[in-house]
């Protein structure tokens, strides 16, 4: 009877399945799955469809695990920022310690399964990606330098290389070009977001570029990275890795990206930042179109993949 008395009291809301799903950052995960799939599909050689599925599942679970760990370690920041205040930990739906256990368990499981069933290079790259995102980006760079998302962007850029390694057991020039594209894409994408969320970041004390260097400098840097990104995006076609469909699709969306980045450069409405909002969505469309074109060329058999070997 005494035990019942001890535990009697107001009930707490317990976490639902949806709370755990939200902890995996499903929108980020979907982009990682897509670029990882591009690496698998673009790689030369054969992989059993179930092995490809398993590799992609491991990439997806590792991305989700990284998201959960990021939310656990950044829960103090998330509680302050309007964009992230409704996440499961600041809302009190999941305890920070529980999210940590969940994230690390999924990380270990995804790397182990990748190593057991696919190959050690893919598992090693997956482990490195989690380490880089959680330890290097979340725990170190995010709170200490305005270059946080530039360097940390490497973690988000690696999935195509992991997909490629899952098929071939090795790396070559082509997957590194795909990594370089996503790496150069990250600054314009995140700094566009940071421009229209700069008050949020300033309040939370996160040294994002607009907070540290100001909005004018950020606009110039977005434009500079755009000028680096667009040739890199066209490189697969120029170097003979991709075909005419890729060249046409990426050429068209590159023009749209350049137009949107130019509007950001000359934006004067620093309150609403409409050009930055537009660029944020154009950048997502850019990455989607680029990897979709790579996948499509491979699937319909018009990609010049002999050059990839």
């Amino acid at each position: 009877m005494a035990l019942v008395d001890v535990y009697a009291g107001p009930q707490q809301r317990i976490a639902d399945v949806g709370d755990y799903f939200a902890l995996l950052k499903p929108r980020v995960m979907s982009l990682v799955i897509f670029t990882g799939l591009a690496g698998i599909v673009a790689a030369p050689g054969h992989i059993h469809v179930l092995s490809a599925f398993t590799a992609l599942l491991c990439i997806a679970v590792a991305a989700g695990a990284s998201g959960a760990l990021n939310m656990a370690y950044d829960s103090d920041i998330d509680a302050i920022m309007a964009r992230t205040a409704t996440r499961p930990i600041p809302m009190g739906h999941i305890a920070r310690e529980e999210a940590l256990m969940f994230g690390w368990a999924l990380s270990i499981a995804s790397v182990t399964i990748m190593g057991l069933f696919i190959n050690l290079l893919a598992a090693g790259l997956l482990a490195f990606t989690i380490f880089f995102y959680v330890v290097v980006y979340t725990l170190w760079l995010k709170r200490s330098t305005a270059q946080n998302i530039v360097i940390g962007g490497l973690a988000g850029a690696l999935p195509p290389a992991i997909g490629w390694a899952a098929v071939t057991g090795s790396l070559s020039f082509a997957p590194l070009v795909m990594v370089a594209i996503t790496f150069l894409w990250t600054p314009p994408h995140f700094w566009a977001l940071a421009l229209f969320r700069s008050d949020d970041y300033a309040r939370a004390g996160v040294p994002m570029m607009p907070v540290v260097a100001g909005k004018t400098s950020t606009r110039r840097q977005i434009f500079a990275y755009t000028l680096l990104l667009l040739p890199a995006g066209l490189a697969p076609a120029v170097l003979g890795f991709a075909g005419p469909l890729y060249l046409a699709a990426v050429g068209a969306i590159s023009a749209w990206f350049l137009f949107a980045a130019t509007k950001v450069l000359f934006e004067r409405d620093e309150t609403k930042e409409p050009a930055a909002k537009k660029l944020f969505f154009v950048s997502i469309a850019y990455l989607f179109v680029l990897f979709a074109a790579l996948i499509a060329e491979r699937l319909i058999g018009i990609a010049p993949f002999g050059a990839w070997l």
């Binding site: 107001p10 317990i14 399945v17 398993t54």
Partner: protein, 47 residues
């Protein structure tokens, strides 16, 4: 949320969590079985 609503939510959440854990476990068993067959390359049926 009042006490009664929390109680209802918790009962639903517990049930959904149990189903999700069961599905993940069954999924992993099936995946491990099928991947083992794939890795053995079909020779497992040669006797």
């Amino acid at each position: 949320m009042d006490e009664h609503e929390i109680e209802e939510h918790n009962a639903r959440a517990r049930r959904r969590r149990n189903i999700a854990v069961a599905l993940v476990l069954v999924g992993m068993v099936v995946l491990f079985f099928l991947m083992t067959i794939v890795r053995l390359g079909g020779h497992v049926f040669d006797g």
